[in-house]
């Protein structure tokens, strides 16, 4: 509960022991010391312990509700005794009803589905300011909150409410002590002044300031540098909209505005009434005991109850009856008048009654439209009431929603009294409170109704989550010689074959066409044998539309299959924004860009690979070149995966040797990177290890004897199996380096991979300079995985280091056997040219998403070192010497 600054002045005086006597400082220090020990002891209490004390003090508070209300009215001369009794009962009974089953000790909330647990940590010593307007109810409420949360409180009642505040503290303390609370848990300054407050607000052992008071008190609390719960002043606008239940609304407003003579700061201040119901509303007010002021009476009120100097309410009027106020200012009203109502024509300094008035004087405004009414309410809200409370009476949900949007108030009360509604728990399900947080608009830290959770440090115990993993592959994979025959089983009215010129020439297309049912209309779309360009893709999409394709057969290497994947995407979802879909992401499940799920057309994609490397026939990746903007667009989503993959070795029998070597090493790199990836799983490991074993044995055979059908067939399957692994576990830093280098120097992807591979294995097998933060990683195990691969290949070695060394050696021997260049220098790239390129290469490699699944997080300087290792590689002389040694 807050009051206007004219009622309660507490200046933010800096702490200066010079302003206080030594005795006073000793007294204040002792209070804090006692509270500190009490809070420490309290920390050992169980939930059962505190709940027992809470119930006891609530019953005590209820028992003394009337006694304390009487004391408050007698001492402060504010408010209505009967209403203060209700306040004291709300502060105890309603507060208890809310907190009784709440856990506030140990584990307070559990979220098993999120592996999260919340635990309570008490705050310690709280220094609490108590306002003059609610001097006993606020104490009762705060005592309950403090016991429930195991905190100790030093209370500082308003100087003009010191006796009743102290009595409330005494009653609650004795009851708490009797039921086991630690000694010193509550104390109350027997008298206090600005210096005391400032000293305590800055005291080392005071953990929190809970300032329920006027703006100065709140400002002092926040200025102390301590954590503070300061709650601000209000100026409640009320919109009485034409659809409202008028009779109920008027009674509610009267109840609220006259409750405790208007001392609750959430009470109604200016009622904005729709023109259509204005006269009827005022008549109803008058019928129920309100005095409607004429213009001169309204002027009189403006001059008297509002201070013309500062524009704030006059203290003499606060908490007084309407008849007393009328008598003081010489206004003639009927006996028993409950409320003085003054029409105003605007809001602002020239309309004095548009400010907060904590007494039974209400301003009313006649609004010609909803728009005008809302604007006037916003004006009132901004004239000292930001973040506090607002009220609307309406049956129009749209108007209520709009009111909620434009008004800045922590509590927007609908069709009920503002003052009692804001307290929570009586007219609505708001959290019961006697402290209204007003958010930043009111200079506060919260808009909440302050309650137990604001008296706790809430700790969150976050257990490591087991991320959901996946293994997603095409529905159907057909493999071995003549697997293409399976195309026959897929019905289609219109099939478009995407392929490239070489395949058209060598008769592969005919092999596919023979397997397409004769009733199917077939169109062949030949695209260049290069990484697909956006223009080429869009031409393909036009062809699909023209032929109303229901099936796409991609026959080719990675470029053709990638092109077909993107054509299908744009054909089925024309609005798909490729640029947005290519946006970088860290975690597939949390990516910003979402692939379309709604499709205007559907076409089956059958991918028939004609190289044994990329595995594009089963992967969710596609790379596109945007020549106009000179960049690559990499797309990754499982919706891109072909529906059917055909791995038929008849299409790779005529692969040239160098292509066999390049694509074969690409396959091996996929498998090796998937095996050590942070996203590796038992499902991907099985495929990766199988592919490694197959490639190691059969790649050199396929290279050396291109007509070896068995070697060709196994390598073709190995490429697909490796792709099944990396489609789910992704690749690593080797690919990031190879992408950057290959693009810059126009080196085939597999060949670029080969140049990096031995260096990357050595790099990943070493203790990382920086570990990759990844929930998937269970300790660092890349070197163990490499050792397991060495074991699988029978490479020997006793220690992990030896095994990793043997693996690197075996790979180097394989590369030599495939007659692949062993250094970038061997490609004829000068050291000078390479040196110039390295900064760009490093930048591009670091931007490449491939390394995100790498077990070791690459640092920029490490990427540069890897590039240089690949540049120097092993010289031809070294390779020859090694070969001689082996032969000898």
């Amino acid at each position: 509960m807050t009051t206007a600054k004219t009622v309660q002045e507490r200046s933010p005086i800096p702490p200066s022991p010079d302003n206080l006597s030594a005795e006073r400082i000793s007294y204040l220090d002792n209070l804090v010391k006692q509270a500190k020990v009490a809070a420490a002891i309290f920390a050992q209490f169980t939930q059962q312990d505190v709940d027992c004390i809470v119930k006891a003090i609530v019953l005590t508070g209820l028992e003394h509700a009337q006694h304390l209300a009487q004391l408050a009215v007698e001492e402060t001369k504010l408010g209505v005794m009967e209403d203060k009794v209700i306040k004291n009962m709300v502060a105890t009974e309603f507060a208890y009803n809310y907190v009784k089953d709440k856990r506030t000790v140990g584990i307070i909330r559990e979220f098993p589905e999120r592996n999260l647990v919340e635990l309570a940590e008490p705050i310690g010593v709280i220094f609490s300011l108590i306002p003059i307007t609610n001097p006993t109810s606020t104490v009762l409420f705060k005592c309950i909150m403090a016991i429930k949360t195991r905190n100790a409180v030093i209370f500082a009642p308003h100087p003009k409410a010191g006796r009743c505040g102290a009595e409330a503290v005494r009653i609650m303390y004795e009851a708490a002590l009797k039921h086991g609370a630690p000694e010193g848990v509550f104390s109350c300054l027997e008298s206090n002044n600005f210096q005391d407050n400032a000293y305590l607000m800055h005291h080392t052992d005071v953990a929190l300031i809970d300032a329920t008071g006027g703006p100065s008190a709140v400002k002092a609390a926040y200025s102390s540098g301590k954590p503070a719960l300061g709650v601000g002043a209000g100026n409640t606008p009320v919109y009485l909209e034409r659809s409202a239940d008028l009779k109920t609304a008027i009674v509610d407003i009267i109840i609220s505005k006259t409750f405790d003579n208007g001392t609750i700061c959430a009470s109604e201040q200016t009622v904005v009434i729709d023109d259509a119901i204005y006269d009827q509303a005022l008549k109803t007010f008058a019928d129920l005991g309100a005095h409607i002021c004429n213009e001169s009476e309204a002027q009189l009120l403006s001059r008297t109850v509002i201070d013309p100097q500062n524009g704030c309410m006059q203290p003499m009027a606060v908490g007084q009856k309407a008849t007393d106020i009328a008598r003081f200012i010489g206004l003639s009203v009927k006996p028993g008048t409950k409320l003085l109502i003054a029409p105003i024509r605007g809001v602002g300094p020239e309309y004095p009654l548009s400010v907060e008035k904590l007494f039974p004087v209400l301003a009313v405004y006649r609004a010609k439209s909803v728009s005008e009414a809302l604007k006037v309410c916003v004006d009132v809200n901004h004239r000292g009431g930001l973040g506090h409370t607002a009220v609307i009476f309406s049956r129009n949900d749209e108007v209520i929603r709009k009111f909620g949007e434009v008004i800045n108030a922590g509590r927007i009360i609908v069709n009920s009294p503002g003052a009692i509604g804001a307290l929570g728990g009586v007219y609505n399900d708001l959290v019961p409170t006697f402290s209204f947080g007003c958010g930043t608009g009111g200079g506060n830290s919260t808009t909440d109704n302050v309650n137990v959770y604001h008296y706790l440090n809430i700790k969150r115990l976050a257990r490591r989550t087991q991320n959901h993993m996946w293994f997603r592959i095409p529905n159907q994979i057909y493999f071995n010689v003549n697997a293409v025959e399976n195309v026959r089983q897929f019905p289609s009215h219109s099939t478009v074959i995407i392929t490239n010129p070489a395949l058209e020439r060598n008769g592969h297309i005919d092999a596919v066409r023979r397997c397409i049912p004769p009733e199917t209309h077939v169109h062949v779309s030949v695209i260049p044998d290069a990484e697909p360009e956006l223009k080429v893709v869009m031409e393909g999409v036009e062809a699909l539309r023209f032929y109303k394709a229901d099936q796409i057969i991609a026959l080719g290497g990675g470029s053709v299959i990638d092109a077909a994947k993107i054509m299908k995407l744009k054909y089925e979802s024309p609005d798909a924004d490729l640029e947005e879909l290519a946006a970088p992401f860290l975690d597939l499940r949390k990516r910003v860009a979402q692939y379309p799920t709604e499709k205007v057309k559907q076409a089956r994609l059958i991918a028939i690979s004609t190289t044994s490397g990329t595995g594009s026939e089963v992967t969710p990746f596609a790379v596109l070149t945007d020549k106009e903007r000179g960049r690559k667009i990499t797309l990754a989503d499982y919706s891109l995966s072909p529906d059917v993959a055909i791995v038929d070795p008849q299409f790779v029998m005529s692969m040239p040797k160098n292509l066999t070597a390049d694509t074969g090493i690409d396959c091996l790199t996929h498998a090796l990177e998937a095996a050590v990836s942070n996203y590796a799983s038992p499902y991907t490991n099985a495929n990766a290890m199988q592919a490694i074993a197959m490639a190691f044995k059969y790649l050199p055979l396929a290279y050396e004897n291109p007509r070896d059908e068995e070697a060709r067939s196994i390598m073709h399957n190995a490429a697909c199996i490796a792709a099944l692994a990396f489609a789910n576990a992704s690749v690593g830093v080797n690919h990031a380096l190879a992408h950057a280098f290959g693009a810059r120097f126009h080196v085939a992807h597999g060949r670029a991979n080969a140049l990096m591979l031995p260096h990357v294995i050595a790099y990943n097998a070493a203790v990382p300079a920086k570990f990759m933060p990844s929930p998937f990683q269970q300790g660092y195990e890349a070197h163990h995985k490499y050792a397991a691969i060495a074991d699988l290949l029978g490479l020997g070695g006793k220690t992990v280091e030896e095994k990793v060394g043997n693996l690197i050696k075996a790979i180097e021997q394989l590369l030599d056997r495939l007659e692949l260049p062993r250094s970038i220098a061997d490609l004829g790239i000068s050291r000078k040219d390479f040196e110039q390129a390295v900064p760009d290469l490093v930048k591009i490699a670091f931007e490449d998403p491939s390394w995100r699944s790498n077990p070791r997080m690459p640092l920029v300087n490490e990427l540069a070192e890897l590039f240089w290792k690949a540049y120097d590689g092993r010289s031809r002389a070294e390779i020859r010497a090694e070969a001689r040694q082996q032969n000898a």
């Binding site: 500190k36 020990v37 002891i41 920390a43 050992q44 310690g124 630690p182 000694e183």
Partner: protein, 90 residues
């Protein structure tokens, strides 16, 4: 200052009284070892008695070593900020 090390057992139900009684031992020992293993909860009187004992031990340059302090009790000592004036052993 003597070289004698003594071990006093503190009972939870009478921690304050036991700690007050321990003050007498400060004259006899260079290091006073206190067995806290039976204490699971400390009350305000117990804390005050320990604060007082620590103060007197400081005066007499006697080292107070608390053995077997339960973590909840240890936290109380941290919250009242007397842990720095004590030594702890397992």
């Amino acid at each position: 200052m003597g070289e004698v090390s003594m071990l006093l057992k503190i009972a939870e139900q009478q921690a304050a009284a036991d700690l007050q009684a321990a003050e007498e031992k400060l004259n006899e020992a260079g290091e006073l070892a206190i067995d806290f293993s039976q204490v699971r909860r400390l009350d305000a009187k117990g804390v005050q008695a320990l604060v007082e004992l620590a103060r007197k031990a400081d005066e007499k340059a006697v080292k107070l070593v608390l053995h077997g302090v339960d973590v909840d009790v240890y936290k109380v000592l941290k919250l009242v900020k007397i842990d720095s004036r004590l030594s702890f052993a397992a």
